[in-house]
Symmetry: C2
Subunit: 130 residues, 2 copies
DNA sequence: GTACAACTTGGAGTGAACTCCAAGTCAAGC
DNA sequence: GCTTGACTTGGAGTTCACTCCAAGTTGTAC
């Protein structure tokens, strides 16, 4: 698969794919004899993971560290597990923040909807913040 | 409440609080006669909202826009509702991404845990990506 | 075999969101 | 009234994660 096809498949720019490879977010991609990237199933799996974890806020640094450990071999399985567990904790915390914000948002939207229907926006004392 | 007290209460730096005020993420904070910030309940409510929505990935630009609309008065209630609804959609999408990443993470952690117990890390064909 | 698009590289540039700094002002304790 | 520490401002600097660029190479279509 060419870089262009991977870009289109995952809606990501070629620059980002090359950047991921350059800094080590994914391991070196398979090349043709001419040096052009030719993504194999394994390369694509790494790309998919990178996008997935970046989308969940995992820092580039952490992905680089994971790839580095992976390349060092089976001796790093404990370290990799620890890294993934830490990432998991961070993600769960972040998700909680989303729930809190969504609750706040739904409450505010609800109040505005009532205001739109009645023409009156009523406030409680500790809530003079739009 | 002084800026320091607000910092400690919300675990945020004074620089960030001043930055939020400067760019309009929160409206101008109440001051003492000497010009020093003296956060009132309303100011604090704005700070709390700003932190909450930033934690859920809402861009600073969007918060600035909301405060601007709020300050323009009741005529902007429709616009504010639309803005909040859009923020809501974005947050729900982002939360989905977290769920996908968490599922992937849990699967990988599970595999590593088995590897740690048995000393063998087994792979399926399309999953040679650590 | 030559045009031409798509690829390659290293390195510089960008935007978002802070974060730091210098120079000065304010306020509480002695 | 003077020290000391926390506060003020405008502006510059930093970090993260890309994003763009120039100069050169590869590969396909005529």
């Amino acid at each position: 698969m060419t870089i262009k096809e991977v870009c289109e498949k995952y809606d990501i720019t070629a620059d980002t794919l090359r950047y991921y490879e350059r800094v080590g977010v994914i391991p070196a991609v398979t090349r043709t004899s001419g040096g052009i990237r030719d993504y194999q199933a394994e390369d694509i799996a790494w790309v998919e993971n990178a996008i997935c974890f970046r989308d969940a806020g995992m820092p580039v640094e952490m992905l680089i560290e994971y790839v580095k450990l992976y390349q060092e071999g089976d001796g790093t399985i404990d370290a990799r597990t620890a890294l993934l567990r830490e990432a998991r904790e961070v993600m769960l915390e972040a998700k909680k923040k989303y729930d809190i914000a969504l609750a706040k948002l739904d409450y505010k939207i609800g109040r505005y909807e009532i205001a739109q229907k009645t023409g009156v926006l009523s406030w409680t004392d500790d809530e003079k913040d739009g």
